[in-house]
Amino acid sequence: MTLQAMLIVAAILFCIGLYGALARRNVIAVFMSIEIMFNSVNLTLVALGRYVAPHALAADIESALTGQVFAVFIIAVAAAEVALGLGIVFALYRNTESVDLTEAAQMRR
């Protein structure tokens, strides 16, 4: 297991998530894909934190934890995003009886 391998796996996950986010009709499926992208980003951050030495490492050993701190924040923000996003999905569903994103184009003009 190397850093490059880890990064490539994370990149593959990210691109799969991107594809899903762009190519699915169902808004919940889009959500799932976005979660996959979040996860891959977290993975990248932690991997870089694990293998790559920050500049301040010699002086402050805790700077090795920067990647993990970022991941923690991202998880927290993702949780908030899910809460609000699902709220929007419910609102959309209540108004249009549908969770199909291609039909949610009322704001076009």
Binding site: C15, L18, V77, A80, I88, R94
Partner: protein
């Protein structure tokens, strides 16, 4: 190291396969379950990357809370077994994703990463594995961001409530 490598490759295969399943299967419920698999595999990666705390958080928040929320949401969809249909953007989306992947892989492979010096690897491993350092950082260097995130979560909770509460006359 062999064990680690085997675990890594196994997890990779599981994670990529499950992720592909999430975006490709038609049955939305199965997609949700496959998503849980992805989350668990990522938790496994975290363990491999000696981020035990994050692994636990990943299991608790993603595999636990978020996945459950999504499963609830899936229940809304009328035709769950055929709910996960693609739209007309499959080809451009796939091309964009493939191109992005190529760029990312190229960057990852071509960059000269600065590894942690051998002398400090032990120390780094100890710090990263334990949760004490993380806890210390969150309430010292990153205290402001920590508070901001807490406010953000509060705001998101209130916002979600406001979105879902409905109009006053409809409320019971």
């Amino acid at each position: 190291m062999l064990l680690v490598d085997i675990t890594f490759w196994g997890l990779s295969v599981v994670a990529i396969g499950a992720a592909l399943g999430v975006v490709l299967v038609r049955d939305l419920f199965r997609a949700a379950l496959l998503l849980v698999v992805v989350f668990l595999a990522v938790a496994g990666f975290f363990v491999l990357l000696s981020a035990q705390f994050l692994a636990v958080v990943q299991v608790l928040i993603y595999a636990g809370a978020i996945a459950i929320l999504l499963v609830f949401a899936v229940m809304l969809t009328k035709d769950v077994p055929h709910g996960n249909l693609p739209n007309r953007l499959q080809v451009p989306a796939a091309m964009v994703a493939a191109l992005l992947l190529a760029v990312l892989v190229a960057v990852a492979a071509a960059t000269q990463w600065q590894p942690v010096p051998l002398a400090q690897q032990e120390q780094v491993a100890v710090v990263q594995t334990g949760s004490a350092g993380l806890a210390n950082l969150l309430v010292s260097d990153y205290a402001l961001a920590f508070e901001a995130v807490s406010v953000l979560l509060l705001g998101a909770a209130i916002g979600a409530l406001a979105l879902l509460r409905g109009r006053p006359e409809q409320a019971p």
